[in-house]
């Protein structure tokens, strides 16, 4: 049986690359050391100038040299498509399609097989760009990301449009954050730092565990005297509804890359808020043999009090994936 492969999105190291503490070589070498051979980039984060100005060819050459040197594989380029580039008017349809084609070309230049489309992009734009992507051997994957999920009508609309197009250059890139099943500790701690009383933050965490409808939780927090940050904390439940990983099974033929989102890895190599054991078993059951690219997003929740330790967090996430991939399915999940 083909195995799930391990990769890293360089998004994970954003605090370190922002200040120049880590270079592109540091990032790729670090991933290689963890045995995570797949590399995903947000094109315009890693390559200055993209898309409006263009990219220095020497940087692209460096990218290919480093991948070869560290025996890594280019997996995906996450593009943005700024359809609000013009103040007060949306970018016209044809220009949006042309912009996606440009990102297909950039992907081909980087040697990746997939480009990530943000979930707000209309299915018609992607369908119109699909023939060009096919020609270049690139697949366009829409990122299914909380608060959206596989049963949301917007995603169903995408799925229908993809089927109707008949193109296999269109697919999905699920972000594992949509399967959040416990309130992340780093979120709770941040909300407490900005003034949420502990009795309210404890209540929200418990209400999330109990799967109470977010609107009830928000009202209850208000009645407990919660304001500002307390309401904001309760409102996160609206956007994180603990969907089930098995919802991916209907879509397996179009799932080609995975964002291994995580907020905090414990020293014992678990992510307490996202059910990775269940996720990996579902993916194996669905015959998934693409990459899971670690995507550390705890950074923005801790950076106000400490410099995020992105490298150690990614190391732990990779160790966890190593442990979970290829293990027999426990009886409880086999049914």
């Amino acid at each position: 049986m083909a195995e799930i492969k391990r990769g890293v999105s360089l998004y994970s190291f954003q605090n370190d690359t922002f200040t120049g503490k880590m270079s592109l070589e540091d990032c790729i070498r670090t991933c290689a050391e963890f045995g995570a051979r797949g590399i995903e980039v947000i094109g315009e984060q890693t390559f200055w100038g993209w898309p409006e100005v263009g990219v220095d060819h020497a940087k692209v050459e460096e990218w290919h040299r480093l991948l070869k040197q560290y025996d890594c594989v280019p997996v995906a380029h996450d593009f943005m498509l700024d359809y609000k580039r013009y103040k007060g008017r949306e970018m016209p349809f044809e220009e949006q399609v042309a912009s996606v084609r440009k990102d297909v070309d950039f992907a081909a230049l980087l040697g990746v097989k997939y480009i990530r489309a943000l979930v707000s992009i209309a299915p018609e734009v992607l369908v119109a760009a699909a023939p060009y992507a096919e020609e270049k051997g690139i697949k366009i994957l829409i990122e299914v990301h909380a608060p959206l999920h596989f049963d949301h009508p917007w995603i169903v609309r995408h799925a229908d449009a993809f089927e109707k197009s008949g193109s296999d250059a269109l697919g999905f890139l699920p972000d594992m954050g949509m399967f959040l099943f416990r309130f992340p500790r780093v979120w709770k701690a941040k909300f407490e730092r900005i003034g949420v009383p502990k009795n309210i933050s404890d209540y929200i965490v418990k209400a999330y565990e109990d799967r109470v409808l977010s609107e009830y939780v928000i009202l209850n927090v208000r009645e407990m005297g919660g304001q500002g940050p307390a309401i904001a904390m309760a409102e996160t439940l609206r956007h994180n509804a603990a969907f089930e990983p098995k919802r991916m099974l209907d879509y397996m033929p179009r799932i080609h890359n995975i964002h291994g989102k995580f907020y905090e890895m414990d020293a014992d190599l678990t992510e307490p808020s996202i059910p990775y054991d269940d996720i990996v078993h579902v993916l194996e059951k669905g015959g998934y043999d693409g990459y899971i690219c670690s995507e550390y997003e705890g950074n923005r929740w801790v950076e106000d009090v400490e410099e995020p330790d992105s490298v150690e967090q990614v190391r732990r996430h990779q160790e966890m994936l190593k442990r979970l991939i290829g293990q027999p399915t426990p009886a409880a999940l086999a049914a």
């Binding site: 998004y11 954003q14 605090n15 690359t17 922002f18 200040t19 120049g20 947000i42 315009e44 984060q45 200055w48 100038g49 409006e52 100005v53 943005m80 498509l81 700024d82 359809y83 609000k84 580039r85 013009y86 103040k87 943000l118 979930v119 707000s120 950074n299 923005r300 950076e303 106000d304």
Partner: protein, 130 residues
Amino acid sequence: MMDNKMICVDGFENVVEGGETTGFAFLGRLPYYRGLGLSMIEDIAVTVDGEAVARGDVRFTVHGNTYTLDQMETVYDDRWNFGEKATIGVVRAGGLTPGKHRIEFAVRMRVSYLPFVPTTKDVKELDLAA
């Protein structure tokens, strides 16, 4: 995100043009995990020692090009890259006195996929050399 990395501690100085001090400048970074085309920078608000700077007095310089905020709204061929230090200038005859000044720097950006328009702010006390 990156709030506390927006204002750089290096590069805080008075601007001297033709022998006259016409303002001051500091280095600022975009609080985001990617860059943005300049047309998507909706506003840059600067406060110095508690006093708000008028929008028309703010200047933005990258890649050797200086823009007003109004001009930036239609710049489609230049970017504020990820982590890139731009020079944030303020027109102010005589500049600032040497010593410590409290600088507030807020950026509002138009992000296509977000259902809101975020503003991110940093505050730092910077030291202007004599």
